[in-house]
Symmetry: C2
Subunit: 263 residues, 2 copies
Amino acid sequence: MTGRMDIVLVGAGNLATNLGYALKSAGHRILQVYSRTEESASTLAGLLQCGYTTVPEAVVPEADMYVFSVKDSVLKPLADKLREGREEALFVHTAGSMDMDVLDGGRRGVLYPMQTFSKSRLVDFRHIPCFVEAAEAADLAILKDLAGSVSDSVHELSSEDRKYLHLAAVFCCNFANHCCAIGAEILERHGIPFEVMRLLIKETADKLGSLSPREAQTGPAVRYDVNVISRQRELLADIPEFQKVYDMMSEGIHKMSEERNTK
Amino acid sequence: MTGRMDIVLVGAGNLATNLGYALKSAGHRILQVYSRTEESASTLAGLLQCGYTTVPEAVVPEADMYVFSVKDSVLKPLADKLREGREEALFVHTAGSMDMDVLDGGRRGVLYPMQTFSKSRLVDFRHIPCFVEAAEAADLAILKDLAGSVSDSVHELSSEDRKYLHLAAVFCCNFANHCCAIGAEILERHGIPFEVMRLLIKETADKLGSLSPREAQTGPAVRYDVNVISRQRELLADIPEFQKVYDMMSEGIHKMSEERNTK
């Protein structure tokens, strides 16, 4: 166990909830939760058994570290507002896509835990890859210690590379999930329960534990089975936005497969 | 254990390999493997310890059942050719997207195991949902027995509904995997190993074991964080086809989330 930190969580969303719970479980002291909305602030404060506020001016000034997990668009103005009177504290954000230097004006760093978080599902932090960065070497050491207290997978990564990592994560997680959401809607329209799809989804992910996504690809598009492809796209004639996704993904799969075969 | 069937496998691809192995393991007799190419025919025949041929005329005539797992475009002509002299046998195909009646001219049915198969990865068939259909009630009973001998999840489904099920599977599996392939390529271009993504992919799938994909969705698009979205799409300026996917998926996620919120 590393040195215990006194922490204020700024933000009370999915990520803050999971990270806050992991930090508290690792022995750190959560002094306070700040959130714009009373409901989310009080819910997370209840889980972490600490105080909360919805007023930036009422955020306590004595924490070692302020961990910002807020919508990217409000991160900078909120951090700038809180910096006054907290010049000695370490400001940390958890956003994959934001540059560390949006926290300029003092000690600053990033702790980006790459996972898809939901409040309703507290995940085991131990294996979550955490990517850290800090402006000063001493703060980097502190953040590595802090990340190491909740995860066994801590990596140093620059703001520039983290942007691409986060972008890749959006494809691998959010966009993959959206494909499943479209599949679920097609099933729903035909009265087939989504449950039958769960094993296929699990195996699709499990394959990527040992194969690359290119190697793992199957289905009509990679076989370039134009009969199936043209019939399947016709099934979507009444849902043009799904048909567009169908066309684009099928073309992309075919193209990638051709590149692989000619490599 | 159901009655033992004497089976010829027509096709020796990913699905035939996994299904053939499961059928043999369940005690059925694989008489022969037919494939257009010597290499795949002999490989699967070796795994199943049976004979093989690459010549339709040399397919043995005495099987109870001919199981076709071939590219959809060759299914009908090949089945028509083999039907002569095998009028009493049950012809079965395994394709999600093909109507049962492409096997007209005699006893016919479908056994569609919904999974993503790779030759290099023999999967446990026991939990794979298998969807069966037959023209005659007696053949449906045979196919239910056969499917039940390899899987605990056997469902009756019409050709029409199966088309939509297969379409949904293409979204949930092939297209989701393609999103991961794009993510992997972005990482590769920036020297970040794909391994760091594996836990996120696993959790994305695991969440769908208990949540619907709409409920499980996270990320900039569902938050409609236009700052992140516009910066992320700019990162793809040099890969226009990925940028098109980014735009389409982000719009789709946002639209679905709006629908959900107004329901």
